[in-house]
Amino acid sequence: MKPLYELKNIYYQYPDGTIALDNINMKIYEGEVVAIIGPNGAGKTTLLKILDALEFPKKGEVYFEGKKLEERLLNDIEFMKYFRKKVGFIFQDPDTMLFSPTVWDDVAFAPLHLYDKDTAIKVTEKVINEMNLNHIKDKHPYNISGGEKKKSSIAAVLSITPDVILMDEPTSYLDPKSRNYIINLIKDLKSKNKTIVFVSHDPNLITLADRCYILNKKIIAEGTPREIFSNVEILEENNLDVPEITKLFKLLLDDKDLISKINIDNLPITVDEAYNILKDLLKSKT
C-alpha cells in the first residue's frame, strides 16, 4: 500500500534559531489513527503544521499522495482547494480558529472559501445540526464556554468533511464531559475510515491509536500503544504518562507474592482489557 503521507529527513528551524524538528522520517497510511506523543516544546505542533502544508521543512521532503508539498504547489489554486478540502486541522487553542462575529460564520468559513455559496450554506447547517450547536450558532465565540468553543472549532473543520484530520491536543483544558465527547468523536471518525493524526498526552486518547510516535525533536520510538506503554524508561525520560490501570497492574506484577497468581502476556492499557483479565482471574478462583 502506498502511504498517504511520507516524510523524509525533515528538519525544521524557526527564524529565531530554535530547532523544532530534526531528521524526521514517517509514513502515515490511509485510514490509520496515529498518535504523536512528546514533552512540551518537542515540535509536535510544528509537525502538524508541516502535515497541513502551513509550514514547509527547511530540509527534507514531505509527500502527500505522492506529490511533494511545497509552497509552489500550494499556490496552485486547484491543488490548494483539493488539499484544503481533503485535510482539516483542529488547532489546540480554539480561540485561534474562532474569529468571526458568530459561531455560524466560523463554521461556514471553510465551506465559503472552498465551495459555492449554496453548498456552503447547506453543509454549514448540516454540521451545526449534527453537532447540536443550534443554541449557540448566533453567539459571538467570545461568549461561549470552553467546551462549546472546542466543539465549534471542530465543527468548523468537519463542515468540509475532510478525509484526513489533524488534531493538536484535542482534550487539553477540557472538562471530563467534553473529553469523553472527543474520545467518542475519534472513535466515530475512525469507524468512518478517516485518517487521523493527533497530538496528545492523554493515555485514554492514545490507546485509541493504531500507531504512536514518541517525538522529541527527533523520533524517539514508534509502535502500537501497547508497545509504547510497556516501554516505561522511555516514557519517564520524556515526561510521559502511562494509563492508571496499567500502573496498577505493573504494581501487582512487581509484587513477588502475587506474580505467580496473575498470569498475563501483556499489561492492560484500557479499562476493558483490565476488566477481562480480572474477570478471568476471579472466575478461576471460584
Binding site: D95, F109, Y142
Partner: protein
C-alpha cells in the same frame, strides 16, 4: 493607592469587555431591518464618507448642528439605541480634541470672558476662543458620528469586501482583517491575564509593584499574542483563505441605494451652499 490600582483595573476590564462584546459581536450590523443596514455596503460607505467630507468643510455651527442631528436621525432609523451611540462617539472626543483645543481657548485673541493672568503674560479665555472650540469639537464629533455609523451598521467582512471592490488592494485587506482579529486577541489576553493575576494574588498590590509586574507580563503577552496571531492566519489558510474576503451576500445596487445616494448628495450640496453663500 490600592484603590487607584483597583479603579484602573476595573476601568480597563470594563472597557475591554465592552469592546469585546459590543464591537466584535456586530450586534447592530446584523439587524437587517435598519435603514443603513439595508443599504449596499459600498453605497453606504461612499455616502457616509461624502457626509464626513462635507462635515469637515463646514464653517458655521448652525449647519454643523444640522448635520449632527441628521446623524442621530440615521442612528434612530437604523435601530441603534441613541444613548449607546452618543456615548460611543463622545467617548473618544476628549482624547482627540482636548489636546488641540485647550490652548486655542486661551490663545485666540478677542473679547475676554475671563482673565486668568495679566502679568507677566496676558492670558484670558476669549469669546472667539470658546466659539472656535465649540465649532471644532462639533465638527470632529459629527465626522466621527458618521464614521461610527459605518462600523456599527456594517459587518467587518462586508466593510472589507466593499473596500476591496472599491479598489483597496487584497494585501491591505488581509492586513486589516488580521489587525482587527489581533486587537481582539490582545484585548482578550490582557483580560485573561488580569483575571489570572487576580486569582493568584490574595493581597492587593501597590501601584509601583503592580507596574513592575505589568511590565514583565507585557513582554510575555506580546509574544503570546504574536504567536496566536500567526496561528490565526494559519487557521484561516488551513480553511482555504486566499487573501481575498468572501461573504455570503452578493452586493447589488438597488433603487433604495440610488435614492439614498441622491439624498446624501442633495444634503451635502445644500449644507455647503448654505454655509458658504448664505451665512
Amino acid at each position: 493607592m490600592v484603590n487607584s490600582v483597583k479603579l484602573i483595573n476595573k476601568t480597563v476590564e470594563h472597557v475591554i469587555k465592552y469592546i469585546s462584546e459590543a464591537v466584535f459581536s456586530e450586534k447592530f450590523a446584523r439587524n437587517k431591518d435598519g435603514f443603513l443596514q439595508k443599504l449596499d455596503p459600498r453605497i453606504k460607505i461612499i455616502g457616509l464618507i461624502i457626509l464626513v467630507i462635507t462635515t469637515v468643510s463646514i464653517k458655521h455651527i448652525k449647519v454643523l448642528l444640522f448635520l449632527y442631528i441628521l446623524s442621530l436621525v440615521f442612528c434612530i432609523l437604523s435601530r441603534i439605541p441613541l444613548l449607546y451611540y452618543i456615548k460611543r462617539v463622545w467617548l473618544f472626543i476628549p482624547l482627540f480634541t482636548g489636546i488641540i483645543i485647550l490652548p486655542v481657548i486661551f490663545l485666540t485673541p478677542g473679547h475676554p470672558i475671563y482673565i486668568i493672568l495679566k502679568k507677566p503674560y496676558y492670558i484670558a479665555i476669549t469669546y472667539e476662543g470658546i466659539k472656535y472650540a465649540v465649532l471644532f469639537t462639533l465638527r470632529v464629533a459629527t465626522a466621527i458620528s458618521y464614521t461610527v455609523l459605518i462600523t456599527l451598521t456594517t459587518r467587518w467582512d462586508e466593510i472589507m469586501k466593499a473596500l476591496n471592490s472599491l479598489g483597496v488592494p487584497d494585501i491591505v485587506i488581509t492586513i486589516m482583517t488580521l489587525a482587527y482579529r489581533y486587537i481582539f486577541l490582545l484585548l482578550n489576553n490582557v483580560l485573561e491575564m488580569m483575571y489570572s493575576k487576580k486569582s493568584r494574588l490574595c493581597r492587593n498590590l501597590k501601584l509601583k509593584e503592580s507596574w513592575i509586574i505589568a511590565g514583565k507580563s507585557m513582554g510575555a503577552l506580546f509574544i503570546k499574542t504574536q504567536r496566536m496571531g500567526e496561528d490565526i492566519y494559519y487557521a484561516m489558510l488551513s480553511r482555504g483563505y486566499l487573501n481575498e474576503p468572501r461573504i455570503f451576500t452578493n452586493f447589488k445596487v438597488k433603487y433604495y441605494d440610488i435614492i439614498f445616494l441622491c439624498f446624501i448628495i442633495l444634503i451635502s450640496s445644500i449644507s455647503l451652499g448654505y454655509d458658504r453663500l448664505i451665512l
